[in-house]
Amino acid sequence: MLKIDGVTRRFGEVTALDGVSLEIGQGEFFALLGPSGCGKTTLLRIIAGFETPDSGTVTLDGEDLLGKQPNRRPISLMFQSYALFPHMTVAKNIAYGLEREKLSRQEIKQRVGEVLETVGLTAHAGRKPQHLSGGQRQRVALARSIVKRPRLLLLDEPLSALDKKVRADMQLELKRLQNEVGITFVVVTHDQEEAMSLADRIAVFDHGVVRQVDEPVTLYERPHTRFVADFVGANNLFEGALAAEDTLATEDFGALRGRPLRALRTGSKALLGVRPERVRLGAAAATGGGLKGSVLDVSFYGGISHISVSVPGRLKPVLVAVQGASEVKPGAEVTLDWRTDDAVIIPVDQ
């Protein structure tokens, strides 16, 4: 459906996008993930028509998009900064796009009413944006772009200002729009859980370059590069070289077990990654091939606890996640290990 090909955009010395190519299918829920300033907003603005790439093409169903005026593109963009019309009430803001389609008053009223209900702002319909809270504004912006039911919906951090409950409701609504109305989504989010749970596929950006495009579980479990392994989800990475099929030889920790992502020559440099929730925590006395370390810090995050374990020879502590409140105390000596299948060996891109 949407095809982005070799798109590059520079601002002075900054290269916001560097030869980005993506293909997004009809009805897909596509997420863009990447560090702050990596070019996500810029890409959305190019698709919506507010930025022109220095090179590259963008087509929608084979038709060139770049030559089209923004208002002629069947695309809605929700702006990261909301861009609500300050002189219009919430209801008017939302109705704006529908009025442009020359729908009947009746229908506009109904659809605005429905979407207000959806975003939980029925009571605020008559207020001006400057009299809303941050989260309320964000919901108005969201409502304004979804009410049009465009073929392609571009959302730039749509839920970043919302609390968990409202956010969950909104996520459900987005999913519903995708399934029932068949809208294609491109969503920028810094919230990895959100990307993981909502998106059919995720593109990971870094410095204007697409590092990997994959389904969430694949991305999480089989990162192609060090960047992705490190950026997506928490990870414990160990450097070394492939010693045998399932073993990474490291300088400081000896042999570590894991499964290579693809066939690698023995001796080539590689990285072993193991997720915190895959690390098993044992008492220090336990024998066997585990790493030994001492607990630095235990912190409780709602349903899970994160334990950081300092392991001699490593700068960064190893992170371990356990469900519920943990019983280990800072200072305790522990051993760490994991199943071979729970760790991946990633070739190092030279």
Binding site: R45, G49, F50, E51, T52, G67, Q69, F79, Q80, S81, Y82, A83, L84, P86, P129, Q130, R137
Partner: protein
């Protein structure tokens, strides 16, 4: 609302040319026909000679430009700069705080305060100038007041001070209105942020409000300076005919000496001075 965010340059596209046409064509056409052509007619006179009994004869001469550098005209230029500059400065000092406070008034009062600024100007400039004569003249109100207090009457009228007062009075609204337009649009959160960072009201003004309203200040100064600089009625009425500004010279050349070529040359000089000032201003603005 987030600051004035995402004001990224709109990139060029086909539709923009149409937009440019729709927005620019009517006004520019109007200006070309009713401004540039007439102006060209006048300016073409600068290279011709005065007829024996006035008007113009179409014989080339460079004399008009040579005459400009006569110390007489240079000194008038200096006086005009001084008087118009002073009027502009005072207008800014009075007008900025006024516009600033108007912008923060509740909506209803805002309109009233704003209209009150222009209301006096819906009478007539000559009547207003004469009102100042009533106030300032020898037997006028101010002096009567002074005398009632047992003080010596002072010379208030028919001097440069009176001219500055008159110009200020005539053009103060031209300062307040653009300033108001500029200040009113400022995001109040910026001022809050400044206060929060420890800035006093004055510092906030100096560091945040003022720099962000520089375009308004420029417009206001332009609106006051230019008509003051080219004025001839106020110097005549309130200056007692004892003060000459460039406007008086131009008026004299066009209407009295009927020397249109030289009058046009003076007008060209005036425009040139203003242009230099504008460029200087733009340069300063860009550096700041």
């Amino acid at each position: 609302m987030k600051v004035s965010i995402e004001a990224r340059p709109v990139s060029p596209s086909r539709g923009r040319r149409l937009g440019a046409f729709v927005f620019l064509a009517p006004g520019l056409t109007y200006l070309i026909v009713l401004l540039l052509v007439p102006l060209a007619l006048v300016l073409s006179y600068t290279v011709f000679q005065r007829g024996r009994f006035g008007g113009v004869v179409y014989e080339f001469t460079g004399e008009n430009f040579a005459r400009l550098f006569d110390p007489l005209y240079l000194s008038v230029l200096g006086t005009s700069l001084k008087i118009a500059g002073l009027a502009t400065l005072i207008a800014l000092l009075l007008g900025y705080p006024t516009a600033y406070l108007i912008a923060q008034l509740p909506r209803k009062w805002k309109t009233i305060a704003l209209v009150a600024i222009v209301l006096p100007f819906w009478t007539n400039f000559i009547i207003r100038a004469y009102a100042w004569i009533i106030l300032l003249s020898g037997p006028g109100l101010v002096n009567s007041g002074l005398q009632a207090l047992g003080l010596e009457p002072v010379e208030l009228l028919y001097n440069e001070g009176a001219v500055v007062t008159g110009l200020l009075y005539s053009y103060l609204p031209l300062m307040v209105l653009p300033l108001y337009a500029a200040i009113e649009k400022l995001d109040p959160q910026l001022r809050e942020a400044s206060a929060n960072l420890g800035a006093s009201a004055f510092t906030t003004f100096r560091k945040v409000t003022l720099p962000l309203t520089v375009p308004g200040v420029m417009t206001g100064c332009l609106f006051v300076f230019v008509p003051s600089f080219g004025n001839f009625v106020i110097p005549e009425i309130l200056g007692g005919g004892k003060t000459a500004m460039v406007g008086n010279l131009i008026r004299t050349e066009f209407l009295k000496a009927r020397d249109w070529p030289f009058g046009s040359t003076l007008a060209l000089a005036l425009i040139a001075v203003l242009l230099v000032l504008l460029l200087a201003q733009a340069w300063v603005a860009r550096r700041a």
